[in-house]
Structures are given as structure tokens and as C-alpha cells.
Amino acid sequence: MSETPRNVLHIDHLTMQFGGVVAVNDLCLDINEGEIVALIGPNGAGKTTVFNAVTGVYEPTNGEISLFGKPVIRNHPQGKMKKEYLGTLGDKYLSAPLTHTPDELTKLGVARTFQNIRLFSGMTVFENVLTAQHLRRTSNVFTALFHLNRAEDHRMRIKTMDLLETVGLGDLKDEMATALPYGKQRLLEIVRALATGPKLLLLDEPAAGMNPQETEELGVFIRKIRKDFGLTIFIIEHHMNLVMDISDRIYVIDFGKWIADGVPEEIQNNEAVINAYLGGDEE
């Protein structure tokens, strides 16, 4: 590894408040290039909210998010929220708020999958992956309309086929995406995310609904794509075996608040973490 690993994602004092509910409170998080970092916590801890803030779906109430060393999202409580704000006010950000839409962030190199699968239901497996390369187009409407971008189109198709073959979905390319078995749909979502050409991949519960064997294969697969695509991976997962197996570092949150972070061994023996999980209602 290099001496000073490059920072990929930096979350600084992130707070998300919906009405009177503070879903994420004053969360700080760092991910360096090439790492697999897991975000865990009991149900409703605010994990997916963190993903939604990082991908620009939600506008944070307070805090700053930087990608690849550049601030992309920044906000502080304004207007009505100033009075109603319930979160911890870390540093006050006096500089101007900054927003990026999800598609702009994806162009910067952040791709994600969804907790509840969101494939393009009217498309085949092949088209799903092909569509995800649309953002890297060089053609404009007119060249695309008259199909003058044959070379580019061809390259997209080859890349799609390549990606599908590497995960073993090549034979199913003409099936409707929603006709695939559940596990394969999850796999397809990851492939579709890879097709956008990301540097940082966010996986939201990729092993949900998978059996132990599939989960184990998924672990191998995640390691493989990190290596093959030079990715940094940020993962939310409930399968502890998978998390402990693949993660370099783990962040634990509960009720939107940071409670621990560290390498898997540290987390396994951390009292606060054990309390959070046992004090809850499961595991």
C-alpha cells in the first residue's frame, strides 16, 4: 500500500433531520482508496439515510460530504430549521451550501445499489446494464438519433457483455430483469452499478435474502470486483459473517449516532456495539 492513502469519501458532522426525527446525528466517517468499509447498526439506525445523503438523494440538514478530496455537498440549518434543529451542531458551516444531484455524483464516480431492488423493470438484463453506460456517452442527441455513434454503441455493448459474462449472467442477457431469481437480481444491480464506471461503490444490503452459500459467494465476488475494477467499497450489511469477513474497517451507528469504528476484531469485542445489538430486539 502507498504511504498516504488517498481519501475517497469524507463525511464531516453529517446530520439528517426529518421533521422532529434526527435520522443521522453528527456522523463523521472516512474511507480511503481501495478499502472495503462496512456501516452496520440495528434496524432503523439510519444507515440507508447515510447512503442517500452521500448519493445526493437527500439534502443533509448539517454537515459536509467530500468525494475524492473535493467537497460536493454542504449544508447548515437554515430558515425554519434553525429553530427546530435538534441535532448536535458540530462546526458551524458558514460557507455557502453546496448541492449536487444524484446523477452528477454518479458522473463523479459514485455508484450504488438499493436495499429494495430497483432494476429497470421494463428492460432485459442486457438493456439494464447498457442503460447504465448512458452517462459516459460522447454522442449528442443528433449523432445518437441517426445512429452515427456506432463505434461507441458497439463499445457499450461489448462492455455490457463482458460485465455480464464475468458474473455469469451472460446466458440470461435477453431475459426480463424482473424475471430473474432474487439473488441474480441483486447481482445484476451490482453489475449495473459497475457499468457506470465508478470509483466508489455503495452496496446497500447486497446479501439480503441470500442463503449462506450465496452470501459466501457474494463475499468472494465483492473482493474480486474491488481488485478487478480498482474500487473502494462502502457496504451496509446485516450478515455479520460477511461483514467480518470482507471489511477492512467497520463503522457502527445506532439511532443515527456513531458508537464505534475500527477493524473487525475491535468491533466484535466492543462493549458499546454488543449493547446496541443486544439492547435492541434481535441478534
Binding site: 432494476l119 429497470f120 428492460m123 448512458h134 452517462l135 457506470t196
Partner: protein, 371 residues
């Protein structure tokens, strides 16, 4: 890897070729019919109006079926197109007659047909762009209501007397080139009838352009937005840009369709472009299948044939022997029509074609043959 090699080899596939031949045969058939069947036949009325409606229905399908923008402004954009076309093509010598209350009107030049049709599309596109800025932020029903409102406003504005020198107020526009202008009189006095063929060619070219767009990478982006906006945005597809693109292109072709309708009708008047016209087109789209270009084309010809021709007998007194069939009188056609529509909506919700296209019909057969 073998699959990639296979993809490289396969350039033209059979179903597409068959489709092309079918369409070609259709045009040849229309051309021959036009030379042999008398011009007064209902067939040509149906073909011309059907082709016009097919274009507008496909343009509406691009928006509603492929991008998931539920827009109901089609009649408004058609109106803009029809007026732009008529205003720009009335021959200068006829302007005094047409604009009799406005001293011959403002515009004192006449464009050829094709540039005027493109201008009609561009005018509709321009308004779509302006309307789209606020309206495309809305979702589903709200967007439908806003676009419907826009269509109504345009209809009222074009009838405004102050705009008379341009739009002829609430009076009709006429004497511009129509489809019949395409018929060529040979030196020996016989006529080469081209009006229907040209009309269908115009619609065909426009529909082909829309199909090309749908099958381009931008079309895939639009379909992704229809399937799942959140996922589409997460895959880097700019929602605002693609929605605007779809809306503007749809309106452009609605404008061209409006110009064609003006040519078909021989006269054009703003008050005939009512909301009911938008509903007719929406009906065609639904009956044909939301998300199928082939379906929209088929159902528009079916719709026009039924409403103008096949179901006409329901409006008149009919006798079987000496027995008079009850209920048949003026307006009964519309009752039967409504019943048919209800049957379609209740039992054939996906329409004639669902989301299938013409090549898919041949494709399915070949795939089964392989099995």
C-alpha cells in the same frame, strides 16, 4: 467470449428485415390503391387522417409511454403546428381573401410545404420548451392538468382578436396547400394521385425518426426514467434533461402532426382543437398499448376507420327486411364506441400490442422455431 464474437457478426437480423419489407409493401399497396380506387372513397380519408393521428399518437407515446411523463397537451401543440403551417403557406395572392377582416394580415410571404412543416414543429417545440421549464417539475396527475390547461390557454389565445393580423382571430385559415396539391396532372390530362401516399410518407418518416430516438442511447435513458426515476438518477441519467428532451421532441412531432391535420382538413380553426382531441389520441395510445409504436399506429387507423367509416351505419335508420333495427339513430355510434372502449379497458388493459413492436411478432415465431 463467444457471445461477443457472435454479436460482432450479426448486423442485420431477419425480423427487422421482414418488418422493413412489410412496411414497404404497405406503401406500395397504398400507392397502387390510390391509382385504381376512386378518390372519393372513404378509404383515403381514413388513411390520411389515420396517418396523421398515428404520428401524433406515437409522439404522445414517446412522452407518456416511453418516458412516463403524463402529458395531455397534445392538442395544444397540434394547434400551434397547424396554425404555424397555415399562416406560413397561404399564397400571398390569397391572403387578402383569407385575412379579409385584417387587411391581408401581417405575414406577406409564403414558404414551401416542407420548410413550413418543419417550422410548425419548431414552433411547437419552442412552446414546449417554455412550458416544460415549470411544468416538468410536476409529477403525474399534476403534470397532466398543467399541460391540459396550457392547451386550453393556447386555444383561447389564438382566437384573440388582437392577434388577428397573424392568426386571423377566430376566423378560419384556408387556401393553403393541402395533400391534394401533391397530385400531379400529367400532360395527357390524367392524374397521378399522390396525396395519400405523400401523407403516409410524411407520417412514416416522422415516426421512423421517433423510433430511431427510442432505440438510441437517449431512448434507453428515457425508458429507464419511466421504469424507475430514482434508479435512473442513481445511474447518472439527468432527469431534467431527458424529460425535457422527450417532451420537446414529442411536441415537435405533435406540431408536425398538427400541420398534417391542417392539410387533411383543408381549413383550420382554433376552436376545433379541443381537449376531446387530446382524449381521442390518448385513447388511441391506450388501445394500441402504452409503450408500443406499432400499437399506436395500428390503433389509430382502426380508431379512425371505426369512427369515420365502419360504424357510420349506426347513425342511420337500418332495416332488416321489414324490421327496423331499434336504437339506431344519430349519435348511437358514440354509445357503441364508448362500450368498445370500456371493454378494451376492462379486458385488454395492455392494449393491442402491449409493449411489443412489429419485429417482435416475427421474432417470437423464429425463437419458437429454434426450440
Amino acid at each position: 467470449m463467444s457471445k461477443i464474437a457472435e454479436m460482432k457478426r450479426k448486423r442485420v437480423d431477419a425480423p427487422k428485415l421482414i418488418t422493413f419489407l412489410v412496411v414497404l409493401a404497405l406503401y406500395v399497396g397504398v400507392f397502387i390503391l390510390e391509382q385504381t380506387v376512386p378518390q372519393t372513397s372513404m378509404l383515403f380519408t381514413v388513411l390520411k387522417k389515420g396517418a396523421t393521428y398515428a404520428l401524433v399518437a406515437v409522439s404522445m407515446n414517446l412522452c407518456n409511454g416511453f418516458t412516463g411523463i403524463f402529458s395531455l397537451g397534445q392538442a395544444g401543440f397540434m394547434l400551434i403546428g397547424a396554425y404555424t403551417y397555415a399562416i406560413l403557406t397561404i399564397p400571398t395572392e390569397s391572403r387578402g381573401v383569407v385575412y379579409q377582416y385584417f387587411n391581408g394580415g401581417l405575414v406577406q410571404f409564403a414558404l414551401p410545404v416542407v420548410p413550413a412543416m418543419i417550422a410548425a414543429g419548431v414552433a411547437a417545440l419552442f412552446f414546449a420548451f417554455l412550458i416544460g421549464l415549470p411544468v416538468l417539475r410536476l409529477k403525474s396527475d399534476y403534470l397532466a392538468i398543467a399541460t391540459l390547461g396550457f392547451a386550453e390557454i393556447i386555444r383561447a389565445v389564438l382566437q384573440w382578436n388582437t392577434l388577428g393580423p397573424l392568426t386571423n382571430g377566430s376566423n378560419i385559415l384556408r387556401m393553403y396547400p393541402t395533400f391534394n396539391s401533391f397530385n400531379i396532372v400529367r400532360p395527357d390530362g390524367s392524374t397521378l394521385y399522390l396525396s395519400t401516399t405523400v401523407c403516409m410518407l410524411m407520417a412514416g418518416v416522422c415516426i421512423a425518426l421517433i423510433v430511431l430516438l427510442i432505440h438510441s442511447t437517449y431512448g434507453r435513458g428515457m425508458r429507464a426514467i419511466k421504469d424507475d426515476e430514482i434508479a435512473a438518477e442513481a445511474m447518472g441519467i439527468n432527469l431534467a434533461y431527458h424529460k425535457r428532451l422527450s417532451f420537446c421532441v414529442s411536441s415537435f412531432f405533435a406540431g408536425v402532426g398538427g400541420a398534417m391535420l391542417a392539410m387533411y382538413q383543408n381549413t383550420v380553426q382554433a376552436k376545433s382543437f379541443t381537449t376531446a382531441m387530446t382524449y381521442e389520441i390518448l385513447l388511441i395510445v391506450v388501445i394500441g398499448g402504452i409503450g408500443s409504436v406499432t400499437g399506436s399506429c395500428l390503433s389509430s387507423f382502426l380508431f379512425v376507420a371505426c369512427s369515420e367509416w365502419w360504424l357510420r351505419f349506426l347513425d342511420e335508420k337500418q332495416m332488416i327486411g321489414t324490421w327496423e333495427v331499434p336504437l339506431l339513430r344519430n349519435g348511437f355510434r358514440l354509445v357503441v364506441f364508448s362500450v368498445i372502449i370500456m371493454i378494451v379497458v376492462l379486458f385488454f388493459r395492455r392494449g393491442i400490442m402491449g409493449t411489443k413492436e412489429l419485429p417482435d411478432l416475427f421474432r417470437r415465431r423464429t425463437r419458437e422455431a429454434i426450440k
